[in-house]
């Protein structure tokens, strides 16, 4: 009997505001333990929290970018639970009136993953467990988050991975989060169940908490699918529970049972007033949204004429995509700019994080200038490539490495004389070429490029040589 995977994701995205959600302590990552704290984020009695205006703006933007409806009037609630990562013994979050609802993200297959809701909440402190005791750093306590919850629409590991990557890219593009998974700015709770193919009723689900690596999420889902199918096939039943993924062993293991449904005793947060977002504000935030990754992708493919794979490699990193747009301005062949970026330039940025940061030494205008010279055939591609290497190393413009004289190239008479010489001195290659060996032609051109130190226009030289050979 074949089974179907059913996955829903709850993604926590840390917002990149300057200050915490209910006080004005910095949200900066790291710092000495408990050095970014005040009585409000430490949950001292008698303090009065106030919502950070930017959090509302960022949450609305996250909703708009994922096709959500924005609720004009929303409020904050208390979710009660006793654990030392929250000094107040409750988390301030949104329960029945989340700020955004009913959105979706469309995958490359055309399938939409529905977003049930996006709500605002505060992050908890960091706990370090040692020898039975627990040490707490509240620097992260009160850092603003949005939690983005999907419906259980995901059916394969690939869909889960693509959804997370798309979501991550959208949040990065709209500038509401740095989405650094290694720093915990994007974390996923993964709900997994299985059911027999064709069945409508969902199976009992398990939840794997706090995953901050796409690779581990993929492995954990694959493992959990197999585990649940094995249990059902051997006549057992799945227990609703929270599980943890052990990346060393590539297994999931039970953390706690959910049989006694958690009762968080949600109620309205009485210390905070309602949040009202007007239609005008929503319109303003919408107008401020930049081009989203899938919109850029379409433009790169349909208007700039890039192959899909190349376009995907460019939009994967926001800074690279923006650099490419500038560098390819007014070019006849926009693919040329993409070739230089994906080839010679990417080699200087081998890792993902280096491409993400994209600290390139030359502004896009310099690359554009270089390519314009290639397009106008003032320099050939090998000269361009040499010059680009020097430009990247020094941060200087192309004119520093290629003179006006270089750009003049070789006049036609001189080139013609050289071509005659090349044909005379490479008789063997000429014969091989005339005998059908296309490759032999390259050695004749190579001779000319050597003689002219790369200044000759190989296309023009090819025309002349073919003309001469034709005359032989």
């Amino acid at each position: 009997m074949s089974y179907e995977l059913v996955v829903g994701l709850e993604t926590h995205v840390e917002l990149s505001t300057n200050t915490k959600i209910f006080c004005q302590c910095t949200t900066e990552f790291g710092g000495e333990p408990n050095s970014h704290c005040c009585p409000i984020c430490l949950g001292m009695p008698g303090t009065l929290p106030k919502l950070n205006k930017k959090v509302v703006e960022y949450a609305v933007k996250a909703g708009l970018a994922t096709n959500c409806k924005i609720r004009n009037l929303s409020k904050m609630d208390r979710k009660n639970y006793v654990y030392p990562d929250l000094p107040k013994a409750y988390q301030v979050t949104q329960f029945d009136k989340p700020i955004c609802e009913d959105g979706y993200i469309t995958l490359s297959s055309g399938k939409s993953i529905r977003i049930n809701r996006i709500h605002i909440e505060e992050d908890a402190g960091k706990l370090i467990h040692e020898r039975g005791d627990t040490y707490i750093d509240y620097n992260r306590g009160g850092v603003p988050l949005v939690e983005i919850v999907t419906d259980p629409d995901i059916r394969t590991v690939d869909e889960a991975v693509e959804y997370i990557e798309q979501l991550r890219l959208i949040m990065k593009y709209i500038g509401v989060s740095d989405v650094k998974m290694q720093e915990g700015s994007l974390r996923c709770d993964v709900n997994i169940s299985v059911r027999k193919k064709g069945e409508e009723k969902f199976g009992t689900r398990t939840e794997i908490k706090n995953m901050n690596s796409v690779n581990f999420i993929a492995k954990a889902i694959a493992y959990e699918f197999e585990r649940q199918v094995d249990i059902l096939e051997s006549g057992g039943e799945i227990h609703q529970e929270t599980r943890r993924y052990d990346s060393d062993l590539n297994i999931t293991e039970s953390m706690r049972s959910k049989e006694d449904a958690e009762d968080y005793r949600y109620f309205r947060e009485p210390d905070l007033v309602n949040i009202y977002v007007s239609e005008e504000e929503i319109k303003k935030y919408k107008a401020e949204l930049p081009q989203l990754p899938h919109e850029k992708l379409n433009i790169f493919i349909n208007e700039y004429g890039l192959p899909k794979d190349d376009a995907e490699l460019l939009i994967k990193y926001k800074k690279v995509a923006e650099y490419y747009e500038e560098a390819s301005k007014n070019l006849k062949n926009k693919k040329l700019a993409s070739n230089y970026i994906l080839g010679q330039i990417y080699r200087k940025f081998p890792t993902d994080s280096e491409k993400e940061e994209f600290n390139i030494s030359i502004p896009p205008k310099y690359l554009n200038d270089l390519i314009q010279l290639v397009e106008s055939r003032k320099i050939n591609s090998s000269m361009a490539s040499n010059a680009l290497e020097k430009m990247l190393d020094s941060g200087k413009a192309v004119t520093e490495f290629i003179s006006e004289k270089d750009m003049e190239g070789i006049d036609e008479n001189t080139l013609r004389e050289l071509c005659i010489k090349a044909v005379n001195e490479n008789q063997k290659a000429v014969e091989s070429y005339l005998g059908g060996k296309e490759k032999a032609f390259k050695s004749i051109i190579g001779y000319i490029m050597r003689e002219t130190k790369g200044k000759a226009d190989p296309i023009k030289a090819t025309e002349i040589i073919k003309e001469i050979i034709g005359k032989i």
């Binding site: 505001t17 300057n18 200050t19 209910f22 006080c23 004005q24 302590c25 910095t26 000495e32 333990p33 408990n34 050095s35 970014h36 704290c37 005040c38 009585p39 430490l42 106030k50 919502l51 950070n52 205006k53 930017k54 509302v56 009037l73 409020k75 030392p84 009136k97 370090i128 039975g132 005791d133 627990t134 040490y135 707490i136 750093d137 509240y138 309205r268 905070l272 007033v273 309602n274 949040i275 009202y276």
Partner: protein, 93 residues
Amino acid sequence: MVSKEEIIKIAKLSNLFLDENVMEEITEEMAKIVEFADAINTIVCDEDIEFDNINQIENAFNEDEVVESYSSDEVLRNREGGENGYFLVRRRV
């Protein structure tokens, strides 16, 4: 009802010292507080009251501008145990 044992347990968890001779009085006071809170269960509400906007106040916001946090010394002044700037929670239950 609130028992004396519950008061002792809460006091222990809260790091509060309670003198034996006030124990009875405090137990009675705590019982009254809980009883008062229980009164909420007796409320009969016929009307459909919209509580969400009951105070008619909206949008009291902080600007997203950093204000200096408290110094670590101040933050950690009353902690018990702990080292290297961390709070410590000892296993109690």
